[in-house]
């Protein structure tokens, strides 16, 4: 590569990264700002973090969010994986339409799912609460898990399952000893994706949660309506930290299992 090209590309990369990360860095910096107004730097403090940890609304919302995300993840992972296995293994009439039906929840806007769910809950006279948020999340959670697991399955050498059966493993043993360990990274990736998406989902949670069962994003929204408080900055900083740690754990795990892919040639 010519020196000039390299220089241009370097500057270009810097600009892209600056665009992506400067707002986040500003947010982190101001979470330590002594001033209540988030715009002027007046001094360093941990006050916002202390305030954050003693805010019972935030505690409740965080627990709500974790609860919804956890249940969503468990349901989506089980059903998404089963759906992926079925679509991978069997051919049947209308399979292509089914494939497409699984894509729709990923594509259509969350707001549509939220409004549709709200209409159904109204029709069935269901009282809104925390549990009413979960179906809306599971709808796209299943699709995400299915897509990720299906991608993993399509890279799986089918003769590995045949080899297991050839060596005396029945269908059940073949699945747990060969298929499952090989697609597990895909299942885990799908589960993590669903968990994080559910954790920060806003529209469905906003429309379908009952009074007093706000999730974290909904609470943040209502707090920000009164102006961006440094408390929110502190909360966001913690969330970013959690995400970074999760990504690192995930990366380490992937590196560890990278050698174990069941691809066709070695």
């Amino acid at each position: 590569m010519r020196a000039k090209t390299r220089k241009v590309l370097f500057i270009y990369s810097l600009v892209v990264f600056a665009f992506l990360y400067i707002p986040i860095i500003v947010l982190i910096v101001f979470s330590f700002n002594d001033s209540k107004l988030g715009t002027v730097w007046t001094g360093f403090t941990f006050d916002w973090y202390i305030k954050l940890f003693s805010n019972s609304h935030i505690h409740a919302a965080l627990l709500n969010s974790l609860f919804v995300a956890m249940i969503t993840t468990i349901l989506s992972t089980i059903f998404g994986t089963l759906a992926a296995l079925a679509l991978y293994r069997y051919t049947f009439v209308g399979k292509r339409s089914i494939d497409f039906l699984f894509l729709i929840p990923v594509i259509i806007p969350d707001i549509v799912i939220a409004v549709a769910l709200l209409a159904i809950y109204g029709l069935l006279n269901i009282n809104l609460g925390l549990l009413t948020v979960i179906p809306g999340h599971v709808v796209w959670g299943i699709s995400f898990v299915m897509l990720v697991v299906l991608a993993r399955l399509s890279g799986l050498d089918r003769s590995l399952e045949e080899a297991a059966k050839d060596l005396g493993a029945n269908e059940w043993q073949t699945f747990w000893r060969v298929t499952f360990p090989l697609i597990f990274p895909g299942i885990l990736a799908g589960a993590l994706l669903t968990f994080t998406l559910s954790l920060d989902e806003f529209e469905v949670a906003f429309f379908t949660a009952g009074p007093g069962s706000s999730t974290l994003p909904v609470l943040v929204y209502s707090m920000v309506r009164l102006g961006v408080s440094p408390e929110i900055n502190a909360l966001s900083t913690i969330l970013i930290l959690v995400v970074i740690i999760a990504i690192i754990i995930w990366g380490v795990f992937i590196n560890k299992t990278k050698d174990n892919r069941g691809s066709l040639n070695d």
Binding site: D157, S159, L160, E162, A163, A164, K165, D166, L167, G168, A169, N170, Q173, R177, V178, P181, L182, T257, D259, N260, R261, G262, S263, L264, N265, D266
Partner: protein, 362 residues
Amino acid sequence: MAESMVKLENITKQFGELHAVDNISLTIKQGEFLTLLGPSGCGKTTTLRMIAGFENPTSGNIWINQALVNEIAPYHREVNTVFQHYSLFPHMTVFNNVAFGLKMKKVKKAEMMERVYNVLDLVQLKEYENRKPNQLSGGQQQRIAIARAIINNPQVLLLDEPLGALDLKLRKQMQLELKHLQQSLGITFIYVTHDQEEALTMSDRIVVMNKGKIEQVDVPRVIYEMPKTLFVSSFIGDTNILKGMVHKKSNDELTLQLGAEMITVKKEPTIEVDDHVLLSIRPENIYFIKETESHDIKIPVKVIECIYTGSSTKVVTQLSDGQKIVIQSTNDAIVTKNTAAFLTWKKELTVVYKANEKEETF
């Protein structure tokens, strides 16, 4: 005759409109090394997969050790398979790969350990027990795949082009090792390959398949020297296919016109006077003779090309009617390009086929 270990009875396998295997019947004896040989798409792998239980025949019966197995799942059949790409479990160590079959049978731990180490010893890979498959070379993976299959003491070992992914030298070495292994274990081997040399080297009997049908079943020597069909003669080894016409038929001989010459060959019952025929003569069975020598078969040709190939010289010659004959000659043969020469071969090594049906050569 030894007991039949595997018996295929009028087996047909259709994939949609395609007849992958078309009504074949075959009996494989206990302890036999049988090779299914043919070009890709001839149905040899499908046949093997039906014996393993991965495919069900569309019609016909499969018997393994006198038991009808049509409806039996692969994990209940006493056969094991060595797969084309080994199909070792990538997430398990060598030890666990080899032990997999025994674990499924719930063999006691002490016995399992002993048997795994014995079989790893047999394939000389004991020190690799803790490696993962992707840390092994192709040849080592191959050995583990074999160890994983034979540890279960199968009645029949099925091998699907097991040496296809290895380089030539390793392949030759593994051919002999496999043959010795088969002899010392006394297990029936059913071996699929498209490599005719491999088939000739290793097999007790060869089944030559083409387009889902069996062309010929016999010992390697007969397959090579007396190919029953034109397909077999051109698929196995190199050969010259020459066009001729039947001139005269006597009690035990046919007189054929080949170019401007007349030659006599053994009689074939289905061939009549005036039939167009194809002759198959192997390049290594043809010799140059001097003009003064007299032989039953003596064909004048023109030498077109001499190609040195190391252990021998390939000489391309041409008959008066333009048909080419390739001769695998010794390097000291005294022929030169663009000169006249005379050829001979033994009449019993000439195989004659009726030409009208299949004129295709391969």
